[in-house]
């Protein structure tokens, strides 16, 4: 590649990693603000995705003779798993206002939330469905033999047990969500990645700023991993004879939380 063609070389010759720049920007107010937006957007979208996924899973597992719920759930999953997230985000932000003749114009954050939730719901639907199907069929039968309807049995007996199977892949999903939410910067959501790009496009300090972003993303996903193990322990009740001792990582983090 000829020198000067790549944006990295536009400012002149390459420089070594400047630790001082990294350290200054690590807690820069704009970066911190972006990180907050990333967390907010991810948590809200994941929560909505879990709810959407639950209903879509129940829809797919519906036993009604009319395939209305099964059909809607299938179409939804097909559509949102089958198209790119980036396209979906742009669709909500750009195409919805056009489609509605400017009557419905969701803002940047709302568009990103809608797009990420709908996309996540499609994946959560399959995860939730797998979890429900993993619960032994005798559980539903026992509940029904006690006079429960299918719906009550789902709510009281099957879903609480399915959560055990659903948590680990949902942890995966949330970690992916924290990272994929950076796509929202393309529709002008001022998240962590948006601010990162804003700063390096002004200063040309790509190496330092991208390292800053990576450290923040790693910190978030690390906390998410920790949260997952806590949740897993909570829902393990009754399923194992021994209470697992917290591991090294968990002890360290619990200690930090207590001190903090």
């Amino acid at each position: 590649m000829p020198e000067g063609a790549h944006p990295c070389f536009r400012g002149g010759s390459a420089t070594a990693f400047d630790f001082h720049v990294f350290w200054t920007y690590l807690f820069d107010p704009a970066i911190r603000d972006g990180a907050r937006i990333t967390v907010e957007l991810s948590v809200l979208s994941q929560a909505a995705g879990i709810v959407l996924g639950l209903f879509a899973a129940l829809g797919r597992l519906s036993r009604l003779r009319l395939p209305i719920f099964r059909g809607i759930a299938f179409l939804y999953i097909w559509l949102f798993r089958g198209t790119p997230l980036l396209v979906q985000l742009a669709f909500v932000y750009f195409a919805v206002p056009q489609m509605t003749n400017g009557h419905v114009v969701p803002g940047e954050f709302l568009s990103a939330f809608i797009g990420l939730s709908l996309n996540e719901g499609a994946y959560m639907a399959e995860i939730t469905r797998a979890g429900i199907m993993s619960v032994e069929s005798g559980q539903l039968e026992a509940a029904q033999s006690l006079g429960m309807t299918r719906w009550l049995a789902m709510r009281r007996i099957v879903i609480p047990q399915a959560i055990r199977f659903i948590i680990p892949p949902t942890g995966n999903e949330f970690i992916a969500m924290l990272k994929n939410s950076s796509l929202a910067s393309t529709i002008a959501v001022t998240d962590l990645f948006y601010h990162t790009t804003q700063i390096y496009s002004r200063s040309g300090q790509f190496f330092e700023l991208l390292t800053v972003a990576s450290v923040w993303y790693l910190a978030m996903t690390t906390v998410a991993t920790f949260g997952q193990t806590l949740l897993e322990r909570r829902f393990e009740r009754g399923f194992s004879r021994t209470i697992r001792q917290p591991g090294l990582m968990q002890r360290a983090m619990l200690g930090a939380l207590r001190r903090g």
């Binding site: 039968e141 029904q144 033999s145 006079g147 299918r150 009550l152």
Partner: protein, 271 residues
């Protein structure tokens, strides 16, 4: 007609297929209120399917099942029978207890919570009432001290006794046992049979599928021998065990009561 004339369970000529397999070929049986009927027979004879039809966990293709005089799972119309909506079937099932071979306790709940669950959320009784009753039932099955144990912390025999208490908490009109001791280690069978015998003597209406011939002899009012989807023989326990009329009954009882002799002849044949 007086109450005693209506049997608690009245099964009339029911048929059931699983694909090509004709598992129930016109089963007719009655269980009077307060009686215990034990169903015996080789595996695959349709015993468990019969039980599952008596609480509509399996649908039937023809015939009728009445429990306490009410048609189960369907309603009569001019054009034959129509399925009841799920809500009404659930209501009927609430009065029909079932104890499963694999216990099927709810693993995420303690023993006490398992027993309280249906009275609380199906009958919608106050929590304190459910808890008191559940404690009483645990004491009745000899597990008062295990109230806060999870199923995974209990032995198979203890789990099955909790499952019986769970069924009793609904005050069922009839309770069915589907090979309730078959999944247990031999030394744990006795404690469960003891609870079942006690229930039978207290006048609970019971339909019991089991391979425990001692229990059948001791606790049954009637014994039904099933084979290949039909009732081959139905009699009082002493008759069927001491003077079985049919060759198939005799062969089955020989195989169950003296497995050694049958096993030996098998080996002889193999040689």
């Amino acid at each position: 007609m007086s109450a005693s004339d209506t049997p608690m369970v009245d099964v009339q000529a029911i048929h059931k297929h699983f694909g090509q397999l004709h598992v129930l070929r016109g089963i007719t049986m009655r269980v009077s209120t307060g009686h215990t009927t034990v169903v015996i027979g080789p595996s695959g004879s349709g015993k468990s399917t019969l039980l599952r039809c008596i609480n509509h966990l399996e649908t039937i293709e023809s015939g009728r099942v009445y429990v306490d005089g009410k048609l189960l799972g369907y309603r009569e119309t001019k054009n034959g029978i129509k399925s009841l909506p799920e809500r009404l079937v659930a209501k009927q099932r609430a009065d029909i207890g079932m104890v499963f071979q694999r216990f099927n306790l709810f693993p995420h709940m303690t023993a006490l919570q398992n027993i309280m669950e249906a009275p609380r959320h199906v009958r919608k009784l106050p929590k304190s009432v459910c808890r008191d009753e559940a404690r009483g039932l645990l004491a009745k099955v000899g597990l008062a001290l295990k109230a806060n144990s999870y199923p995974s912390e209990l032995s198979g025999g203890q789990q099955q006794r909790v499952a019986i208490a769970r069924a009793l908490a609904m005050h069922p009109k009839v309770i069915m046992f589907d090979e309730a001791t078959s999944a247990l280690d031999p030394e744990l069978v006795g404690e469960v049979l003891l609870v079942m015998e006690q229930l039978a003597h207290e006048g609970m209406t019971m339909v019991v599928v089991t391979h425990e011939m001692g229990f059948a002899r001791e606790a049954a009012d009637d014994v039904i021998f099933m084979d290949e989807g039909v009732i081959v023989e139905e009699a009082k326990p002493e008759e069927i065990f001491d003077h079985p009329k049919h060759e198939r009954t005799r062969a089955f009882l020989r195989a169950v009561l003296e497995p050694r002799s049958v096993g030996d002849s098998h080996l002889t044949n193999l040689r």
